[in-house]
């Protein structure tokens, strides 16, 4: 073994396991949706993915959740090769989208029981978690009512409880706050913050920049299927200042729009 390759091996061995490690991810439909995307999310991090409509955010998250097969690239979740061992990877992942994935004819309690069964969680443990989540999300009075008459906010809370009942290590949220009223959005945000404090990792897409600004540890900006910038709010501001002098302001909105404009000019 040569000296350089030994060093590379040692570095690899000591590299901390990432919560999410995406390399060269590519997916084409009629046109390229995600193009050679590299992305790293550390354990316990709240990572927000921003981008205009059609940028490839949802496609990326669906590939991570195992709902889409990439054309090329690799996805590693806590060291598990998500493409080679989908079942093991899915065991530690939860997905919550803007359209709550619930059943109208099941009650929240039954829904959580169903998810516990799907994820193979011990019934006693799952029930205790479910009761805790139901109380926390204010669903107690409706726990045994069918979901068919629930408002958007309540449905999203049920779906969130479903995403959390199997205690996932990586939580994927695709526009989780869309259409929620202020009170429901506050509850969801509080639950997510608590999960991060408890050691879970969150990757979230949103169009509400204020949420990203206030909650994310790091922000990635994606456009035309590529990651065009990444970092903390300050790092992004500096990056935008360098790429689009005079356009970048102080807010994330200014930074975001400046970076997109610079990318459009470059393209």
């Amino acid at each position: 073994m040569s000296g350089s390759s030994r060093i590379e091996t040692i570095v690899t061995q000591h590299r901390p396991i990432l919560a999410l490690d995406i390399r060269g991810l590519t997916k084409c439909f009629d046109r390229p949706a995600v193009v050679g995307l590299d992305l790293e999310v550390r354990p316990g991090e709240f990572y927000t993915l921003l981008g205009p409509n059609g940028a490839g955010k949802t496609t990326t998250l669906r590939m991570v959740a195992g709902l889409l097969r990439p054309d090329a690239g690799s996805i590693s979740i806590f060291g598990i090769d998500a493409l080679a061992d989908q079942v093991a990877a899915k065991q530690v992942v939860a997905l919550l989208s803007d359209e709550p994935m619930i059943y109208d004819k099941l009650t929240p309690f039954e829904y959580l029981e169903f998810i516990a069964g799907l994820w193979g969680i011990d019934a006693t443990v799952a029930e205790s978690r479910a009761r805790e989540l139901i109380d926390w999300l204010g669903l107690g009075p409706h726990a045994h009512e069918r979901c068919q008459g629930f408002s958007k906010g309540m449905r999203q809370k049920v779906a969130l409880a479903g995403a959390l009942v199997h205690d996932p290590r990586l939580i994927i949220l695709d526009e989780p706050l869309t259409g929620l009223d202020a009170a429901s959005a506050r509850i969801v945000k509080d639950v997510l913050k608590d999960r991060v404090r408890g050691g879970s990792t969150i990757i979230m897409t949103t169009h509400i920049l204020e949420v990203a600004e206030r909650m994310a540890d790091r922000i990635g900006i994606i456009a035309q299927g590529r990651l065009i910038a990444e970092g903390t709010l300050d790092e992004l501001g500096r990056h935008a200042g360098a790429r689009a002098p005079g356009q970048a302001g102080t807010s994330l909105e200014d930074t975001f729009l400046a970076l997109l404009a610079a990318e459009a000019v470059a393209a």
Binding site: R62, A65, G66, L67, Q86, V87, A88, A89, K90, Q91, V93, A94, L95, S97, M101, I102, Y103, D104, K105, L106, T107, E110, L112, E113, F114, I115, A116, G117, L118, W119, G120, D122, A123, T124, A126, E127, A130, H142, H144, E145, R146, Q148, G149, G162
Partner: protein
């Protein structure tokens, strides 16, 4: 070009929407299929004419002065068709009340709701008439070609029947709205529609079985007792039948009465239609509380999936009514089964294929609900469960339902004849398994609410499901009669399954 806001303008708007909806349904939303659909329709029309020739050619010689028995058979067939039209019209009217689509837009506009709903009621009548004419045309054409132009009067009667059915459907649905309110009308109206559609057929079959030990409706209508009890040939009751045979006076009377009925329905009900539609829009699903039981039950992934499927089926009365309506058609064979205990086992040969056919059809519908009609596909796909296990659990849920529905029939059959019961059990299992397998091969994600229109997602799957059920039913029937021809029909059924597999997206994939 008609001026905006006029009746003609709305009629044009409705016509355009209906045409595009029909086209999308026929082509499954793929415009490139139009030519293929046109060719298939022409071929289908040809086949229907052949079927019609086989069925009615021998009656073409009936003149314009028929006997009571002929009038009875024609009237019975017309009533049967009219009830089916009424059933279809009731479904259309219910949909017009509850499907929001453009209703909010129209009701929010400053145009008179009366005009809009006049056109909508007329459009419902037109769609019922169009469907009836399309189905009746091969029979009328064959009779006219073989028996003379006087048979063309039947077209007028079919149109009149469609108009009358639409008028009565509107009146019945509005009456239901007033009696039981908008919350319950949707479900009840659809159940009433289905019962009306199936009731007359089942009633006639039941009467035929009780009288003659056969499921033939014609045998009952032509029986001496029924003919003797029917009104005289000059009675007004026979006017529709006379109109079908080309009696101009009767035709004018029938057409006039139906136009008056439809016109009256439009005038009386169109002003209230808007109010009812608004009431239907305001219906929120009632908070249905489930009986609180103990804590979470221990379950494997497969058990969790099966329980979920059964709970969803059990709790959706509309889907249940749509699916289990097929079971209504099992009532005549059940009656035949019951009579066989007294009259020997000869009639059981008829029961076996009916059970096998019904099992295939029911399994197809349930499998569509479980496989394609999954409400949270992403949730299930994101679960750490291999997709093969998910599908297996869903199919097990379907077959469990089939076992539950058909077990009483098989047990009754076993008491009468264990051999027939064995053949029926094997046939039911294979037929249900084949129909489920076809749904798996052709699965395409859809909302459960599209259950009624599931056939549009794949014509091949629809026909394959029907043909495989028919082939397995024939096999079971022949096997229960001890005929070796069963081997040929079984081979045909297997060939159908093989062909379908090759044509399916799953089979075509590299």
């Amino acid at each position: 070009m008609s001026a905006p806001g006029t009746l003609a303008w709305f009629a044009r708007h409705e016509l355009r929407l209906t045409w595009r909806d029909w086209l999308a349904m026929m082509t499954a939303g793929k415009p490139r299929r139009r030519r293929a659909v046109a060719i298939a329709l022409v071929g289908f029309a040809g086949v229907l004419h052949l079927v019609a020739y086989a069925m009615v050619a021998r009656y073409a010689g009936v003149g314009t002065d028929p006997g009571k028995m002929t009038l009875l058979v024609i009237t019975g067939s017309a009533v049967l068709s009219w009830l089916l039209m009424l059933s279809q019209a009731m479904e259309s009217v219910t949909r017009a009340f509850y499907a929001r689509s453009d209703l909010d837009l129209i009701l929010a506009s400053p145009i008179s709701a009366r005009k809009v709903f006049s056109v909508r009621i007329a459009a419902i009548a037109a769609s019922v008439v169009a469907m009836a004419v399309l189905l009746a045309a091969p029979f009328i054409n064959v009779l006219a070609v073989l028996g003379g132009a006087h048979w063309l009067g039947a077209y007028g009667v079919v149109i009149a029947m469609g108009a009358a059915a639409a008028a009565l459907a509107v009146a019945l649905t509005v009456a239901l709205f007033r009696l039981i309110g908008p919350r319950r009308t949707r479900l009840i109206a659809q159940i009433v529609a289905a019962v009306i559609g199936a009731g007359f057929v089942i009633g006639l079959q039941a009467a035929a079985i009780l009288s003659y030990g056969t499921m033939s409706r014609l045998a009952f209508l032509q029986s001496d007792a029924v003919v003797a009890g029917a009104p005289g040939v000059d009675n007004l009751v026979w006017w529709p039948a006379r109109a079908i045979l080309g009696d101009a006076v009767a035709l004018a009377a029938v057409a006039g009465a139906s136009v008056a009925l439809l016109g009256g329905a439009i005038m009386v009900f169109s002003p209230r239609f808007g109010d009812h539609a608004i009431a239907a829009a305001g219906v929120a699903p009632a908070a249905a509380r489930q009986r609180r039981r103990g804590g979470f039950r221990r379950a494997s992934s497969a058990q969790a999936l099966r329980r979920k499927e059964w709970a969803l089926l059990r709790r959706d009365p509309w889907l249940m009514s749509q699916t289990l309506m097929q079971i209504l058609y099992l009532l005549p064979p059940a009656l035949l089964l019951w009579l066989s205990f007294e009259r020997g086992t000869g009639a059981l040969i008829v029961v076996v294929p009916v059970l096998v056919m019904a099992a295939g059809q029911l399994a197809g519908g349930l499998a569509w609900l479980a496989v394609s009609g999954e409400d949270a596909p992403d949730l299930v796909a994101a679960a750490p469960v291999p997709s093969r296990l998910v599908m297996r659990a869903k199919i097990q849920a379907v077959l469990g339902c089939i076992a539950l529905v058909f077990a009483p029939f098989v047990v009754a059959l076993a008491l009468a004849s264990p051999a027939h019961a064995l053949v029926a059990t094997i046939g039911i299992a294979i037929s249900a398994g084949s129909a489920s397998r076809i749904q798996l091969w052709f699965r395409a994600q859809a909302s459960r609410s599209q259950f009624r229109r599931r056939h549009t997602s794949s014509r091949i799957a629809t026909f394959a499901e029907a043909f495989s059920s028919i082939a397995w039913a024939a096999t079971a029937g022949l096997a229960s009669a001890g005929s070796v021809v069963a081997l040929i029909t079984a081979a045909a059924a297997l060939m159908i399954m093989l062909g379908v597999r090759l044509l399916s997206p799953a089979g075509a994939a590299p």
